[in-house]
Each structure stands twice: as structure tokens, then as C-alpha cells.
């Protein structure tokens, strides 16, 4: 363990960002964790003050500060609503990295991030094996999936209601694609993300179906690595950088107009964190910036670029509602397009639920370390879904899908969870 002086010096680098917090306390209105506990150390203002206190050597309890920092969904709601424009998520991610540098990564995380996540081939192999034997080997599946992806929360811990690993991951269904532009004249790169790959391959195939339907050529390089957010949010910058590097090499090889993902978290990670958190060669950073500019959520692409529009639905059609993933709403401000995509399929009637824009409580590894709190936040979400009268709860992030599935299944009301793109692709005939 490095000495505390070093920690203090590193934290001081955050000073210019920390000082922007004017301690107005307005974040208390929006933070889902604070809403549950009412404790200042759980709200943004408190956490920022703790980091400041540690940096200013007013505080000594680095452990306590670290713990407070980890009691956070990184949902970015506070940042989106902060009158002073404090870059909260950026500060928290950097502070976590500094803390991890100081305390060291836990042995389990070290194993998972450095040995598994950083090596997509091995990661795929092991999750592939786990999918076959998950009934028998619940424990290994738990360890590998449970903590491997911050957005990929443990499906088998405790009494979670989960969807297991897919029998056939997306990469086995479509290993790679390199198609020319179709009638749309556009060609896109596709980054499914690991939750889609390993848990929800149907989301991947639905995405490809929709793109094909609109005459969009797809470039899907094989061997994509995780976007890196689980490592980054645990403070493991080394693994994050290695993952970004691997992905950059894959995507650099292709020509495309947009980079699309069906994962809200991946979209915001690629757009906002790849160019800012990666510390490598200037040329790489420049390439990441260019990539980030091309990166888009798949619904946003369908609405803003392709121009899909609302269709009238019959009043007998099943009802669908929409949950805003934090990473689309708070980080990227994308809220209208997924709703429009849902309304584009006349087989569904769209209904708005209460508090659609409030975090579902998943928050990646938060769900693992603070399951009770995560469940409390998610239960409220499920109750809102049910109160809307929806038959289907749709969203744009596979991690949210997992949380919604867990929470809704507990309520036992038979509400199904789908990705927006799945709802959309249902109206495209398979001959397409």
C-alpha cells in the first residue's frame, strides 16, 4: 500500500474540478441513493466534500471515503441536474482510479479484469462453458459473470430472478460482417457489447435485422473486447486502456459512417470516456475522438438518420412503456428517439410510466455490493411499470433489462422486458 501522502497528492489533481461544487445541495433532490438513506455522505455534495477533505488532509479515513465513493450508481443524474455544471461522473471515476491505485485492486477483480476481461477470447470461452453448465456450476458462473462486467450484474447471487447466459451467444450466430452499403447508402459499424453478446443475443439479431431492412451495410469485426466501463468504474485504468486499445484496432480497420450500439452504457462509454479517459498516443486519442463522434445509440440512428416515424396503433394492441437508461438520458440526452421507435411499430400502444427517467438501481457492481439498496430502487421502478398498465417494459440498455427482469419477475405480474429494437424488429418480416 502506497503511503497516504501519495494519495493526497493524486487527489489534489482533482482540485480544479472539485472546487466547482458550490455546495448548494440541489443534488439531494435527484440522487436515488440519498432518497433512500437521507445521509449526506451518500449524496453527491457529501461525496465531493469527502474527496476534498481527504485531499486537503482534513480527513484521514481513506477507507471510509472509498466506501462512500462506491455507494454510487454512477447514474449521472446529479451531474445532469447540477446548476454549477460539476463533472461529477468524471470526478468519481478519477477518484475511484486513484483509490484503486492506493488500495490496490481486490484479488477477485484483478483476476477477472486482468486475466479475463482483458482477453476477450478467454472470457468468451469461459462464459461459453458456463452457459452450458450454469445449472451445475452456479458458483463459477457467479464469479465470472457476477463481477466481471459492472453492467453485467451477477445473475445467480442470492435470490435474484435472472435470465441465464444465452445458450448461443451473438458471436456464434454472427461471427463477423463486412457488408457494403445498401439502398440507404450508409454503412455502419456495430458494437453489440458483452451483455448483448452473452445474455441477449436476440437484441443483436434484432438490431441487424432492422439495419438490413433499411438497407444499411454492417461492419462487425470479430473479437471485440468489452467497452471497459466495469474496469474503469472499479478504478482499473490499466485494463480499461488495454480494452480500448483492442477495440480501436478492430474498428480502425473498417470504413463506416456511424458506430452503433444497442447498449446505452457502451454508447456513453465510447462517446464520453474513450476519448477523455484514455491516456495513450496522440494519434490514438485523435482516432478515438473521431470514433466517438460517429457513435450513436441505435434508436437515435433510426430516427435521426434513417427517419423512421410514428404509426397509429390500434387501441387493442398490447401496451409498451419505456424506461430511460441513465446512460442515454443523463449522459447523452437521448430520450425522444427510443420512444419514437417504439411508436413506429403499430402493434404496440405506447404508454408513459411515472418516473421513467429515474435510475433502475442497477449501477453495475453497485448491484453486487449493495443489492438491498439496488432492489429497493428497482422495486419502485417495477411498481411504476406495473402502474402504467404496460404489458411490455422496453428500454435501451441490456443492463437495465437485467435489472428490470429481476425486479418485475418478483412482482409476478407477467410484464415482459424487451429492448426497444426488439419491439421494432418484430414488425419486419423474416423474409426481409
Amino acid at each position: 500500500m502506497a503511503e497516504i501522502k501519495k494519495l493526497v497528492t493524486m487527489l489534489k489533481e482533482l482540485d480544479d474540478q472539485l472546487v466547482n461544487c458550490m455546495k448548494c445541495g440541489m443534488c439531494q433532490a435527484v440522487c436515488p441513493i440519498f432518497k433512500r438513506t437521507g445521509r449526506e455522505a451518500d449524496v453527491t455534495r457529501g461525496k465531493l466534500a469527502l474527496v476534498e477533505g481527504l485531499a486537503g488532509e482534513i480527513l484521514k479515513d481513506a477507507d471510509g471515503v472509498n466506501e462512500a465513493l462506491n455507494r454510487c450508481l454512477l447514474c449521472g443524474t446529479c451531474q445532469a441536474n447540477c446548476p454549477s455544471g460539476v463533472q461529477v461522473v468524471d470526478i468519481f471515476l478519477k477518484a475511484r482510479a486513484i483509490m484503486t491505485g492506493y488500495f490496490g485492486l481486490s484479488p477477485a477483480k484483478k483476476l477477472i479484469f486482468r486475466r479475463l476481461l482483458a482477453h476477450p477470447g478467454l472470457f468468451n470461452l469461459l462464459t461459453g462453458m458456463a452457459s452450458k453448465f450454469q445449472g451445475m456450476f452456479i458458483k463459477p458462473a457467479d464469479q465470472i459473470i457476477g463481477s466481471s462486467c459492472a453492467r453485467f450484474n451477477a445473475p445467480v447471487v442470492g435470490d435474484r430472478h435472472f435470465k441465464g447466459l444465452a445458450q448461443k451467444p451473438l458471436r456464434k450466430i454472427v461471427s463477423s460482417l463486412d457488408e457494403p452499403a445498401g439502398k440507404s447508402g450508409l454503412r455502419v459499424a456495430f458494437f453489440p457489447g458483452c451483455v448483448v453478446d452473452k445474455m441477449y443475443p436476440d437484441v443483436g439479431t434484432a438490431s441487424l435485422k432492422a439495419l438490413r431492412h433499411h438497407g444499411v451495410g454492417v461492419f462487425l469485426p470479430s473479437g471485440q473486447a468489452c467497452c471497459g466501463i466495469p474496469a474503469l468504474s472499479s478504478g482499473d485504468r490499466a485494463t480499461f486502456e488495454s480494452l480500448v486499445r483492442q477495440n480501436l484496432a478492430k474498428f480502425r480497420a473498417g470504413q463506416f459512417d456511424y458506430l452503433l450500439t444497442p447498449c446505452a452504457t457502451c454508447t456513453s462509454t465510447i462517446k464520453e470516456l474513450w476519448p477523455t479517459m484514455y491516456k495513450g498516443a496522440d494519434a490514438d486519442v485523435q482516432a478515438l475522438k473521431e470514433l466517438a463522434e460517429k457513435t450513436m445509440d441505435i434508436s437515435q440512428f433510426l430516427v435521426d438518420v434513417i427517419g423512421v416515424d410514428v404509426q397509429a396503433a390500434s387501441s387493442k394492441a398490447p401496451k409498451v412503456t419505456y424506461h430511460d437508461p441513465c446512460h442515454l438520458k443523463n449522459s447523452l440526452g437521448v430520450t425522444a428517439q427510443p420512444r419514437k421507435v417504439l411508436k413506429a411499430n403499430p402493434a404496440y400502444q405506447f404508454v408513459e410510466m411515472a418516473e421513467a427517467g429515474v435510475c433502475c438501481g442497477c449501477g453495475g457492481s453497485f448491484n453486487i455490493n449493495h443489492y438491498e439498496m439496488s432492489k429497493a430502487i428497482g422495486t419502485r421502478k417495477a411498481e411504476n411499470v406495473i402502474a402504467s398498465g404496460a404489458d411490455v417494459a422496453a428500454t435501451s440498455c441490456p443492463a437495465c433489462m437485467m435489472q428490470l427482469t429481476d425486479m418485475l419477475s418478483r412482482q409476478g405480474k407477467g410484464v415482459r422486458v424487451k429492448h426497444v429494437i426488439e419491439c421494432y424488429a418484430e414488425m419486419i418480416s423474416s423474409a426481409d
Binding site: 472546487v19 466547482n20 448548494c24 445541495g25 440541489m26 445521509r39 449526506e40 477533505g53 454549477s84
Partner: protein
């Protein structure tokens, strides 16, 4: 005496272990509030979940001579919740029940930790109206509002918190429940202890429950934005509107610096060349609203307004108020530290005060943006600075002194709504008198002989 292990045990038995916070991180996170002042760490944080426990906790603190700072949301801007080092912070945010909303007699009873906006929304859902709307209402508590006598945009026509407080039940230092006020519109029973509690900033008693007046909702409103070539023209307009016997619900002012900053921030098409903007809303019965809106428009034009835009629908109305809501966030983003003052002058002295602020900003080489409630003379000169720059900070402190001196010189007051707390206690005697300060101190020393209730606030040490 500070809190020892045995005493902590006692608090734990009283409140439950989870409601007695002692970790370094928890203590540190209650060492500050929204004021730009140095933090002070308490020795203990208590979070009572019912009023009986609140009373007993107060009594136990008094027995042990532990200084108490009650804290709602900690959004006050005058250091009212910065604790006494080694003292106790009592949190009210678990005391958040609306006890009663009486639709027949138009009052409500609440615990002190109820959040203002949640209360207002609940009242509105019953077809009634609670007007006080401080800018912090999404998080501030009603206990904090009463203790600061908070005001809001609607202060001009509808008054401030004190105009809605019908009664406060509070614990004295011995933990005895003192009842004041009533549920009737009229009440002259005994001393006006309710009045004494309003703006007492936690120095005279700990609120246990509050009775608040409600009014019928307003059926219609109209908003407009008027652009002026000079601050004088805007101020003349304010005076002329009131002289025409029209009391707008809201009458807000923005100076050129604030206009430019907001425009830069939102790009909503504000007139960046304007020296001043007035944002005006009239409300009431639809016919009256239409008539008053017309009159106000004419008055603005007669007083050199270069343009007056009347909002035609909800979206346009929202645009008017968005500009006002953006004032603080937009200014706050310019520099690391943002000192929001609330010097208040008689309405007619607004141009003089604005001139003085201009001179002060020049003299001390500081950036000051000014916006505020023109209708009631409550201005918010907002100094943009960086507290870490010690030279600049010294100039800021001098500028603040001068701002208050000027406001008092113009017949104004130290605080229109943010309270005195620690930030302004040194100026108190200047505005009032030595006798006022002595009288206040004497009263405090009898009611709180051990000096445990929020020491150092309002009347100093």
C-alpha cells in the same frame, strides 16, 4: 464536554444505533452548508425518527452541555448549519410527515423535515396553494424555511414564509414541548412565540411541528419579458407598476452581465445589448389578469422599454421563467466560487444600489452579476471568484462589507431572505442597534442558559 462512549450508548438506545452517526466520514459530511465559509466538524450526528425522540435528544444534549445545530437540508446561504466544533448536529430529514392537510379550514400541519416542493405539490393535488417558493424548494425543508423566513419569487404579492406560519410547536432546551399559535386565522393568545420562532435560525428552540396557512389557487396568470436600455428605466417601471396599484405575483430583474451570461449558457435569444430585463407575471381572475397585463405592458412602454413580449402559451411562459431560473446556474459556471448575496433596499433605491455595485466591482476588480426580486428590492449580487486565490478573496471580503454598508446606507437591510447565520452576524448591530443586540442576547441567555442552541449564529458569541 464532548460526547463520550457512555453518552453515545445512551443516544443509541434513544434513537436506534443506525441513527447515531459517529464515523469520520459521516461527521465530515455535516461540517458545511451552502454558504462559502470554513467547515467545522461536529462530534456526533443524530437523526431522530419521531418527535418524542427529538425532544429527548435535545434534553440529553442540554444535560451534557452539548451544543446543538439543527439541520434540515443544509441549503442555507449564511452558515446557519455549520456546527459548533465538537457539538451535535440533529438532522430533521427523517421527520418528514405531512400530519394533516385541512381543506375546510385551509391549513396544514407538518413535521419540520418535509421538503418544501413535495409539500407544495401535495397541497396542489388537493386543490389548494402554498405560495412560498424559495429557489431551493426542491430540497429545502419547511423547518429550514421557517427558521430562515425564506422567501421566493412570489414574495411581492403573496408574502414570504412568515406570512403562512400560523403556529410552531417546539422543544425548549429541556426538551419540553412549547406550543404556539393556533389553527384559527385569528389568535392573540399570549406572546407571539410563533413570530419569535420565525427567522430564529435554530437559536431559540427546536421545531417539532409547524402549522401552515393555505390559500385557494390562482385561476390564471400571464407572463412577460420587458427589455430596457437602462437600469433607471427598469426601476422607474417597477415604481410605476406599483403606483398604478398593480401588484404582480412576480417582478424579477436581471442586469446586463447576467443577461449575457444566461444567453451564452442557453442561447434562448435574450437581448444581449439590453442594460436590464424585467420578467413580470400578473395573476388572479382571468379578466383581471388580462386587464393588468395590458396595463403593465403600457407602463413598460411608457417607461422606455424597447420591447415587451407577452407569453402567449405555456411554452412561451416557461421560456420567460427559464431565463430567470438560469441566472444562478449560468453565473455559477463562470468561476469556481460563487458568492450569492442578498442585500435588500427599498424598491426606489434599486438604481442607486445597482450603481453602487458597479462601482464596487470596479474598485475591487471583481466580477459581479446582479439579478433578483425587483418588486421587493431584494437583489442578488453574485460575486464570481476563486476562493483559492487569497488575494482576490481578500478583495471579495472587502467588497461584501461594502455592499452591506451601502445597502444599509440606502435604508435597506442585511438580508432579504438568506438569514444572518454566521456570515452576517458581525453587521447585525449596525443595522439595528446596540440595544437590540443586547436585548436579543439577554433573551437568549434566559431561554438557553447553557448556550447550547446553535451558538454563534445571528447574535454572534
Amino acid at each position: 464536554m464532548s460526547a463520550n462512549a457512555a453518552l453515545i450508548k445512551e443516544f443509541e438506545t434513544l434513537l436506534g444505533k443506525e441513527n447515531v452517526l459517529t464515523s469520520e466520514t459521516d461527521l465530515h459530511s455535516y461540517s458545511y452548508d451552502a454558504a462559502v465559509l470554513d467547515s467545522k466538524t461536529p462530534a456526533l450526528v443524530l437523526r431522530p425518527t419521531n418527535s418524542e425522540a427529538l425532544g429527548k435528544a435535545v434534553a440529553l444534549c442540554n444535560e451534557n452541555e452539548l451544543k446543538i445545530t439543527v439541520r434540515g437540508a443544509g441549503t442555507n446561504l449564511s452558515g446557519g448549519t455549520i456546527p459548533h466544533p465538537g457539538g451535535v448536529v440533529i438532522l430533521t430529514n427523517a421527520l418528514n410527515k405531512i400530519l394533516e392537510i385541512n381543506e375546510q379550514d385551509l391549513y396544514a400541519r407538518v413535521q419540520p423535515g418535509v421538503v418544501t416542493a413535495q409539500f407544495a405539490a401535495e397541497v396542489a393535488s388537493r386543490g389548494l396553494f402554498y405560495p412560498p417558493d424559495p429557489g431551493s424548494q426542491a430540497v429545502s425543508t419547511l423547518g429550514g424555511n421557517v427558521a430562515e423566513n425564506a422567501g421566493g419569487l412570489r414574495g411581492l404579492k403573496y408574502g414570504v414564509t412568515k406570512d403562512y406560519v400560523m403556529g410552531v410547536d417546539f422543544f425548549d432546551v429541556d426538551g419540553q414541548l412549547v406550543k404556539s399559535g393556533s389553527r384559527t386565522v385569528k389568535c392573540v393568545t399570549g406572546y407571539n412565540l410563533t413570530g419569535l420562532m420565525v427567522a430564529s435560525e435554530g437559536t431559540l428552540g427546536v421545531f417539532e411541528s409547524i402549522t401552515l396557512k393555505l390559500i385557494p389557487p390562482v385561476p390564471a396568470a400571464k407572463s412577460m419579458m420587458a427589455v430596457f436600455p437602462s437600469m433607471n428605466a427598469a426601476a422607474d417601471t417597477v415604481a410605476a407598476i406599483i403606483a398604478a396599484k398593480i401588484v404582480p405575483a412576480t417582478l424579477e430583474l436581471m442586469d446586463n452581465f447576467t443577461i449575457r451570461t444566461v444567453e451564452n449558457f442557453r442561447k434562448a435569444g435574450l437581448p444581449v445589448d439590453a442594460e436590464a430585463l424585467l420578467l413580470i407575471e400578473v395573476d388572479g381572475h382571468p379578466a383581471q389578469v388580462a386587464e393588468e397585463a395590458e396595463k403593465v405592458e403600457a407602463i413598460c412602454k411608457a417607461n422606455k422599454a424597447t420591447s415587451v413580449t407577452v407569453a402567449q402559451d405555456a411554452a412561451q411562459r416557461d421560456k420567460v421563467w427559464q431565463a430567470r431560473r438560469d441566472a444562478l446556474p449560468a453565473l455559477a459556471k463562470l468561476r469556481p466560487t460563487c458568492v450569492l448575496e442578498d442585500a435588500t433596499v427599498p424598491r426606489s433605491k434599486i438604481p442607486a444600489m445597482i450603481d453602487a455595485l458597479g462601482a464596487i466591482s470596479k474598485k475591487y476588480d471583481l466580477t459581479i452579476g446582479t439579478f433578483g426580486h425587483a418588486g421587493d428590492g431584494n437583489l442578488h449580487p453574485t460575486i464570481l471568484t476563486d476562493k483559492r486565490d487569497t488575494h482576490e478573496w481578500e478583495r471579495v471580503e472587502k467588497a461584501i462589507d461594502e455592499i452591506f454598508e451601502k445597502a444599509l446606507g440606502l435604508g435597506g437591510t442585511l438580508s432579504g431572505e438568506h438569514g444572518i447565520g454566521m456570515a452576517k452576524s458581525k453587521y447585525l448591530a449596525k443595522e439595528t442597534s446596540k440595544a437590540t443586540l443586547e436585548y436579543s442576547r439577554k433573551m437568549k441567555s434566559v431561554l438557553d442558559p447553557k448556550g447550547i442552541l446553535n451558538p454563534g449564529k445571528i447574535i454572534g458569541w
